[in-house]
Amino acid sequence: MLATTYRRPYRVRAAHVPEPAIEHPDDAIVRVTRACICGSDLHLYHGLVPDTRVGSIFGHEFTGVVEEVGPNVRNLKVGDHVLVPFNVFCGTCASCSHELYGNCENVNPEATAIGGAYGYSHSAGGYNGGQAEYVRVPFADIGPTVIPPDIHVEDAVLLTDVVPTGYQAAEMGDIHEDDTVVVFGAGPIGLMAARCAWLMGAGRVIVVDQVDYRLDFARRFAQAETVDFREVEDMALHIKKMTDWQGADVCIDAVGCEADGNFMQTLTGVKLKLQAGAATALHWAINSVRRGGSVSIVGVYGPTFNAVPIGSAMNKGLTLRMNQASVKRHLPHLIEHIRAGRLKPRELITHRVPLEEVDEAYHRFSAKQDGCIKTVLIPPRAGRIDTPTPVARPASSNLH
């Protein structure tokens, strides 16, 4: 089968590899219909994630048709079209029994600090990913969700990570009515977090980035105010001035370890690898939020350490919340939002390309070329997918 295989930093290849097999009685094999390239895939692509082995198959955002099921699988059947949350999880460990599916203890032998995820290095369990024609899906009875007939496959594939992670980013900010929310990063997750902040009653939503087309997208997609950090000398001071010297109520780091904007952070974190990536966005978030405010972190950092102003966080009495999204717990609510037209995730998709062109697609996304926000890969054996019958949108439930 064809799959996206890692070769070296800044180089992936669509290569022919053996097809996956059932390895556990609760497994299923899924024929991929759509797969996305995620911003966090770029950390792998840039060689920043430890234990990324040559030949690994990338991809943790995908939908597909069930081709084969293991002997213990009861709830899925061959032919079901499913979306597969990026978390691999067992459903029974201490974390799963508290709905923390991103922190499952039974799926990643290589690291206790990290849960299991598809196609995200051996540090996340060594699972092959979904940027391929077929993929092995463990715990098939609880992980995948059958795509409802009225949900478009492109919305479904974004429900595997982008929408739940963006929603959870806003949720972890504990947004109250009329709060000012600053989102650092105008990638797909940041854009979704900004949109979800409005759903939670934010009074102002400000998105910070440096890429013109992404800031423009944030104004249109998320109705957000925008700040181009290239035009700002001191981010914390700028946010204070924008908020009557108080600071934002909630700051969301949707950037992670490859942030631009601070020479020393980039030099020590990205170039010299003396810390686990450049923590510029987190630094800005802690310094820009008000005393007693909340900082929500969904940007991905490495496992070692970062230079962040933890003393200021303590003295300001901040609440810091962070986690990988627990995708499965969000899905019913987010499907309801998509049905009602409150969230329109597929508007984020700017590029739809054949899997054979994955190398170019990664390069375009990494270099932020051609207005790229979100790329969907279409494997050769994806087959034809019927477009769902649109359902009439109910009357707006704007509570204001």
Binding site: R8, P50, A113, H122, E171, M200, G201, R342, H400
Partner: protein, 140 residues
């Protein structure tokens, strides 16, 4: 908190204002709202390839990925990395070193497998040898 403002231009503003509508509030919720679960403890996946495991846990997990088992020099380095805990910086730095070594192994593999890459490698090696011999002859 700011003064209340008009959000009528924002579609669906505030539909999830009530924290009770937010699916991850509270953060930890038990019992989980998970359908389809029919095991108390996951069955053990057969151990068919070498899988390294963190020394912060007693052994491998019931389920694991089997892509790209450790091999070659990079595999040797990875095995040494896994003798140290996740809180030891050397664990992660050794893994990053192994990744770079693995890239070199991948390039050698490419040369071995691809006739075009092999021809290119022989061409580069031949050119280097010719330059070296030419320089030697000039010195002589």
């Amino acid at each position: 908190m700011n003064q209340a403002t008009d959000h009528s231009h924002i579609p669906d503003w505030g539909v999830d204002l009530d924290p009770a509508r937010r699916p991850a509030v509270p953060m930890e919720r038990t019992p989980p709202r998970l359908e389809g679960l029919h095991w108390d403890r996951p069955a053990q996946q057969p151990h068919t390839v070498e899988v390294l495991h963190s020394i912060e846990r007693p052994g491998i997990t019931p389920v694991f990925g089997t892509s790209v088992p450790p091999s070659g020099l990079s595999g040797w380095i990875r095995r040494r990395a896994f003798r140290r805990s996740e809180s030891d910086l050397r664990h992660w730095m050794l893994l990053l070193l192994a990744d770079r070594v693995n890239v070199a192994e991948g390039l050698v593999e490419d040369v071995q497998r691809s006739p075009r890459a092999r021809a290119a490698a022989f061409g580069v090696a031949g050119a280097a040898l010719a330059v070296w011999m030419l320089r030697r002859r000039r010195r002589a």
